[in-house]
């Protein structure tokens, strides 16, 4: 029992060491990102790191880019009844508020909401998300020790030892930061082409929004981008902020697919896109 405990403790410490590498490197990268305009530092780090040059990324694990699913365009059923309103049908307009008298020849057109999104048609089948090269661990309801053990083993495989065995480079902190900055700029310039600027909104408003984006290796969106604080943005009493959120979402979708280097896929698979077109004016 004691030896088992000692073995587990030893394994635990090893794993903690590995995990600390996972924690440390990304933090280093993000903190150095601010210094991306000083490439000299990054270059000087190169020779002192014992990191091999990156090999060309092996062919994607998935056999083929997933074929576009047949776009389903169901014929509208002719005999379809009126769609069920998402919100209750407003009462017959209390609209003759202005009786049509001679002195009031122009009754005001009063707005009244019509039912929201009609769900008359079945939604087109969502394309299956592309399989990721390194599948994320599935969430389990309970604590499955066997599964966790296997994850421990896998994490060992994917750590430094694996790099040494396979020769596959993991970017050093310096080169990773430089690449991160480059990737970030590549994405930024592509998205900026599709963003409608808020530069014509009043200047004293905070109109920055953040969009979470998940991409496939071929640069397509792997699922619909989401606004961080979606309710706050799209439900904002400030119409300019609401529109800025819509414009950011529309731009991220509109500009896809993105042209990005496949060998760095892991670095741009997940994006946190901060759109503030007033910041640049």
């Amino acid at each position: 029992m004691r030896s088992l405990f000692a073995a587990l403790l030893s394994a635990g410490l090893h794993i903690a060491l590995v995990a600390s590498a996972f924690i440390y490197f990304p933090r280093t990268m993000s903190s150095l990102e601010q210094t991306r305009i000083v490439p000299v530092e990054l270059v000087s780090l190169g020779p002192t790191t014992n990191v091999r040059a990156a090999r060309p990324e092996p062919e994607p694990v998935e056999p083929e880019p997933e074929p576009e699913p047949e776009q389903e365009t169901p014929e509208p059923e002719p005999a379809e009844p009126e769609p069920e309103p998402a919100q209750p049908e407003p009462e017959p307009e209390p609209i003759a508020p202005e009786p049509e008298t001679e002195s009031e020849p122009e009754p005001e057109p009063e707005p009244e909401p019509i039912p929201d999104e009609p769900d008359a048609e079945p939604e087109p089948v969502e394309p299956e998300p592309e399989p990721e090269p390194e599948p994320e661990p599935q969430r389990q309801q309970g604590l499955d020790l066997d599964r966790l053990s296997s994850l421990v083993d896998r994490s060992r495989e994917t750590s430094a030892s694996r790099n040494a065995e396979t020769g596959e480079a993991r970017s050093a902190a310096g080169s990773g930061t430089a690449m991160t900055a480059t990737l970030s700029d590549m994405m930024s310039s592509q998205i900026a082409r599709c963003v409608r600027s808020s530069a014509d909104a009043p200047s004293d408003m905070e109109l920055g929004v953040q969009v979470s984006v998940r991409l496939n290796r071929d640069g397509t969106l792997s699922d619909a981008p989401r606004l961080t604080n979606e309710a706050r943005v799209l439900g904002s009493p400030n119409p300019y902020l609401r529109v800025a959120g819509q414009r950011a979402l529309r731009a991220v979708i509109d500009c896809a697919p993105y042209r990005m280097p496949a060998e760095n896929y892991q670095q741009w698979r997940l994006l946190e896109v901060n759109v503030d077109t007033q910041a640049g004016r």
């Binding site: 088992l4 587990l8 635990g12 903690a16 590995v18 995990a19 600390s20 590498a21 996972f22 924690i23 990304p26 933090r27 365009t73 509208p76 379809e80 307009e93 609209i95 049509e100 020849p105 122009e106 009754p107 057109p109 909401p113 019509i114 999104e117 009609p118 008359a120 604590l143 020790l145 966790l148 421990v152 994490s155 990737l183 970030s184 994405m187 930024s188 900026a192 963003v195 409608r196 600027s197 530069a199 014509d200 909104a201 009043p202 979470s212 619909a224 400030n238 119409p239 609401r242 529109v243 800025a244 979402l249 529309r250 509109d254 741009w268 698979r269 994006l271 901060n274 503030d276 077109t277």
Partner: protein
């Protein structure tokens, strides 16, 4: 065993945390964008053949024209449409609209109710995110279809820009011409903001100038000029009744100063300039009591007052510093603060409905310019347009567009017409008015 499990769970959580950190998203900052017009497809509103069908096509045409006129939208030609919309309660085939580069899609339906009124329902779709942005219905008498169209356009504009629309508004202006004897004739006229439904408000027997709308859009003030005497009048657009308010003085003939009266945002007061003891000063005029209260007292001329949207301050032009410059003071009077500092003469200040800017006319070196500057005097002024003659700017109710009088030299003398320009200095357009025109006044949104 429990301890083992706990240790194992801890290790695993550490691993997960590490993995999560390793997959931290790439941060991308987008700080620039474009200002290209948004491509939008406006489909003829569906309706039974006859009244509803005709109104549907007409409404779509007016909405398209409204949106296009802003310079912020690029309506897609209906010839390019692929999907035929027959039922607006079905989701459109978004790919059909994206392929023709329509980012937004407006569909609508017109039906005739039993009482003969039109029911106009419409949906605005974002074809990129494939979401419905708007779904509304208006009810009106058939003769009112243009107003319905403007209200639809306002709703679309507001949804897609975040700004209040300005299409359901009217413009009062001065129609200029000559009578049979070659005498100059200036009559007040009114039209929809897109130039439709023009009609005269005053006759040829006297000259009418410098109209301004009340906050309710139901009244206007203007200056009538008869026998060398300028008098401020109040004109009720509902009833056509008008009444003289006070004598504004003779200096129209002498110096061409603008003596227009402008409403306080509360609609119960006016700010005017009137001559007292040889010079012009700013006065507050109480519409109920019919009393003038002097707000400035300076030997130099103080003219052309305009209230801030909150009604707490007044901007006006004054020659108290030598040349004519712009000043801001408390609405109850007090020491004014100068806000314009450039060379040349600054005149015709009008406070923006947004409150942050003042539009003005600047005369320098034989040329005129239309510009805006910060109402607090900070920052640089921005010139939006320069030309042979510029006068009488007026803001759209959302503070996005300025109408102004533009004079152009010709063989027959200076030709006056009304033009609009976007606050960004783009989208300069001539208002579709037959004959010469000047002195535009843009109404608030009509309730």
């Amino acid at each position: 065993m429990t301890a083992v499990r706990l240790v194992l769970a801890f290790m695993v959580s550490v691993i997960f945390a590490g993995a999560a950190a390793a997959q931290a998203p790439l941060r991308v900052d987008v700080t620039s964008g474009h200002l290209d017009p948004l491509p939008i497809a406006v489909v003829d509103f569906v309706g039974e053949p006859g009244l509803a069908g005709e109104a549907g096509a007409d409404i779509a045409r007016v909405v398209t024209s409204d949106l296009e006129s802003t310079g912020l939208f690029a309506p897609v030609s209906q010839d390019a449409f692929i999907e035929e919309i027959g039922n607006i309660d079905l989701r459109p085939r978004f790919s059909d609209w994206r392929v023709i580069n329509a980012n937004a899609l407006l569909v609508g339906r017109v039906t005739v109710a039993e009482d003969g009124r039109l029911l106009v329902a419409f949906r605005l779709w974002d074809t990129v995110t494939e979401t419905q942005l708007l779904g509304l219905q208006f009810v009106s008498v058939p003769e009112n279809w243009r107003r319905v169209a403007h209200k639809v356009a306002d709703a679309v504009y507001e949804e897609l820009t975040g700004e209040e629309g300005y299409f359901d508004t009217r413009i009062v202006y001065v129609a200029e011409g000559t009578d049979g004897d070659g005498q100059s004739v200036r009559r007040l006229a009114i039209m929809d903001q897109d130039g439709a439904n023009p009609s005269f408000l005053t006759d040829r027997s006297y000259m009418a100038l410098l109209p301004n709308f009340s906050p309710s859009a139901q009244q206007i003030t203007y200056v009538s000029f008869r026998d060398g005497q300028a008098t401020s009048y109040l004109y009720d657009l509902e009833t056509g009744r008008q009444e003289a308010l006070f004598d504004a003085g003779p200096s129209l003939a002498e110096g061409g100063q603008s003596l227009s009266a402008r409403f306080h945002p509360n609609g119960r007061q006016l700010a005017v300039s009137a001559m007292r003891r040889g010079g012009h000063d700013i006065f507050g005029f109480d519409l109920r009591m019919r009393t003038l209260r002097q707000l400035t007292s300076h030997p130099a001329d103080d003219v052309e007052p305009s209230y801030s949207p909150e009604g707490d301050r007044i901007v006006f032009s004054s020659s108290r510093g030598g040349s004519s410059q712009l000043y801001v003071m408390d609405a109850n009077g007090g020491e004014p603060t100068r806000i314009s500092f450039g060379g040349g003469r600054y005149t015709a200040p009008v406070w923006s409905p947004r409150g942050d800017l003042v539009a003005f006319v600047k005369q320098q070196g034989g040329m005129f310019a239309l510009g805006v500057l910060d109402a607090d005097g900070s920052g640089e002024e921005r010139i939006l347009y320069e030309g042979y003659y510029v006068d009488t700017p007026t803001w759209s109710p959302n503070g996005r567009v300025i109408l102004f009088t533009r004079g152009e030299r010709s063989r027959e003398g200076t030709q006056y017409s009304i033009w609009s320009i976007d606050l960004a200095g783009i989208n300069l357009r001539r208002m579709p008015i037959q004959g010469q025109s000047s002195d535009p006044a843009w109404s608030p949104l009509i309730d």
